[in-house]
């Protein structure tokens, strides 16, 4: 229960911190860190406009998307704080909850019949499909390492004192961070700030959404960021630490994660769209290397 609370608390500040960091490096001045808050509040006050070509799918999709992301947050533990829900192989449930929400957004985008949104939906589907193995192989190597298969159990047993856990942790943080960037359509595969529809991935899918629906989509993005940030923080938080320290370092990691995303976005250009799949498969490759390393070191397979 506590962990869900913390995840939701940190979520709204993510986008604000990213924007603030980017503004800092561009030598610009930005409104307060709460600006995304105000934007969403403004959107909530507005009514949504629906195109006449759309059906009920377009109307329910943002809500389904939002709820699926919110439900996914229920499974995430923080250090020794248990997630709201936890059962065996809950990470599979977690991954497909997110995928279900995304699927709804994709068919809603197709529902508008716009050539732009179809293009965006097509790209989003491709990238989600490619990133799935990276996530599962990564979690599988953790499961192999800790002999556990729920999020809570995985992270609770991660910090046993072999050096492997450091390698595993570092690589996992790297992969998870980029999964988070891809899931949230940030640089280098997408550019959240661009005005060029032809190059957009996620933004072009939600071009037709307005008012309340758009606000839900924005909030879902925040929560997604927060979920991945929490997963990353779990590799750093040691569960034998006192609770106050655990929570303190959780907040620190969340902020640092947002800062790093801002940093990465400031200092590099995005990929060419045709090179994105290649780049995403690279993450799966890292995960596979990690998996094999775990297999060998934990002597689950023995090489002669």
């Amino acid at each position: 229960m506590m962990s869900l609370f913390f995840i939701l608390i940190t979520a709204p500040f993510f986008v604000g911190i990213i924007l603030k960091v980017k503004a800092k490096f561009a030598a610009r001045k930005l409104p307060s860190i709460l600006q995304p808050f105000y934007d969403v509040a403004r959107l909530f006050k507005k009514g949504a406009i629906y195109s006449t070509t759309t059906s009920f799918i377009f109307k329910i999709a943002p809500l389904v998307y939002f709820v699926s992301v919110l439900m996914a947050a229920l499974f995430i533990p923080i250090g020794s704080l248990k997630g709201f829900l936890s059962f065996n192989a809950d990470f599979v449930y977690f991954a497909y909850l997110l995928a279900f929400g995304k699927f709804m957004m994709i068919i809603a985008a197709m529902d508008t019949g716009s050539s732009f949104e179809g293009m965006g939906a097509n790209r989003e589907a491709l990238y989600s499909m490619l990133i799935e193995p990276a996530f599962f192989i990564l979690i599988a190597s953790l499961a192999l390492f800790t002999d556990n298969n729920s999020f809570y159990g995985l992270f609770l047993n991660l910090h046993i004192s072999t050096n492997l856990s450091y390698i595993l942790g570092l690589a996992a943080i790297y992969v998870l961070m980029y999964i988070a960037m891809i899931e949230n359509s940030r640089s280098p595969i997408d550019d959240a700030k661009t005005h060029l529809e032809l190059t957009m991935v996620h933004e072009v899918m939600v071009l037709d959404n307005s008012g309340f629906d758009l606000a839900l989509i924005h909030i879902a993005t925040w929560i997604k960021f927060s979920i991945y940030g929490t997963l990353i923080s779990n590799f750093i938080i040691q569960n034998e630490w006192p609770l106050a320290l655990q929570i303190g370092s959780f907040f620190f990691v969340q902020m640092a994660f947002a800062g790093v995303v801002g940093l990465l976005e400031s200092f590099r250009a995005r990929n060419k769209l045709e090179k994105n799949p290649q780049w995403i498969i690279m993450l799966s490759a890292i995960a596979i290397v990690l998996f094999l390393t775990t297999l060998i070191i934990t002597q689950k397979i023995i090489l002669y």
Binding site: A26, S115, H195, E197, R268, A269, R270, L273
Partner: protein
Amino acid sequence: MMLRLKNNQSVDLDKLEILAYDAFSSLAIALLTEEANHCAAYFAYKHELGLQFIMAIADDTHHDLIILSHLLKKEDNKTLESLTQSIFALHIFERELHENFGIEFKNHPWQKPVRFPQNGANPNLQINDYPFYTIKSKELHEVGVGPIHAGIIEPGHFRFICNGEKVLHLEIQLGYQHRGVEQLFLDKKQNLQRHLLAENIAGDTVIGHSNVFVKLIESLSDKEFSEQLQIERSLALELERIAIHTGDISALCTDAAYLLGASVFGTLRTLIINFMQFWCGNRFGKSLVRMGGTHFPFTEALKQELRTVLQAFETQFEEMVCLAYRLPSIQNRFDFSGILTKRQAQLLGMVGISARVCDLPRDIRVSHPDFAYQKFTYQTLSLEKGDVFARFLLKKRDIRNSIAWIKTVLDNFEFSETNCEKPNYNLALKPNSFAISLTEAWRGEICHCALTDKAGALKHYKITDPSMHNWKALELSMRSMEISDFPINNKSYNLSYCGHDL
């Protein structure tokens, strides 16, 4: 024999030999097949006997302009054999003639409307009825972009035919910005009004277009003007080039989502345009260039200020260039995107910086220099690859080159406040004359032509913006590219919508 003119030269209209269309076309084809020649303007005006056609061919080897002409009598059939079949670069000119005067060009491969003026060949045709090229297929899909732009630039419609992400065909429809500028030049009788028109032909080429305009009018008035005046104008032209290229580099960084480059280059542009404001009170140089003189002579104080500004600009520019141009992600984004070959550029009759990246060194400052570039010669640069990165790179090198040229001028020319006359808006123009003027603005060659009647009043005014020559190149460089590469390609050419639409 053929009439050969120097740049900024006027000639009596009677000296212009009127050829029969057969002789005209064989001569034009013979001239334009040579690599060093390209068509700078091809237009018609209403003559008492019918329509007189005038074609200006820029000959880069002999540094002059060949003027050819033919006449279509009123009683003649309004059908001509199309020259586009042999010389593809003429396609846009023939389309324009077809649209303005209803002339049917036989065997023209692409005789479509250009900009939908009121007096079109088919007055019933609306801008929404543009005959787009289509491919009937179940696998392919069409994507239409515009005319309302997602950002803040001008309107144009882009119709892609795609197979998935891959673009098979792109067709660009312009004309939304048509204001009838050429007609306004004739309607407005005062030269000050015409000045304002010239400054607003294309908002990003204020100095370029006004430079051509004043040179054209001054050549028609046949007076000599002080050296300083001419050098000042070229100085302003180079400053405009630096400012716009820097802005372009910034915009390309924005489109590649490279934040640091976007903001630093964006800031650097401000240094230059703020200097323009310091000089003449307008950041884009409006009201700086005036016929017969200037209100804002370039003084020693301005010279000092310019040196400081350029010093500051150069230091920061070089620092940022070191970062941005070596960034792997930028190279990855721009390399091999939108390649245009030299052969294509040649066929399209491209001009300016977009031609120079394809190893086609067309530069009016070198091939048809005016006084300033004769006195202080300019070395033009070209690249071979013809992709977005090449265009990105050449903009940088052009900036360096322009700075070097400005420094040479500052070091070797004495400016004084008393050397310049005040503007004279009442220049008497030579009667019954034809004049042509070309200038290398930042985008490429701008060509203005004017004809005067027996009383010395303007009877026809013709503007050819470099974008006229180059828009087709954007269409071609998108072939079999990814549709998501279109914005950076478009930005790397940065062609003018209103310059084309007039």
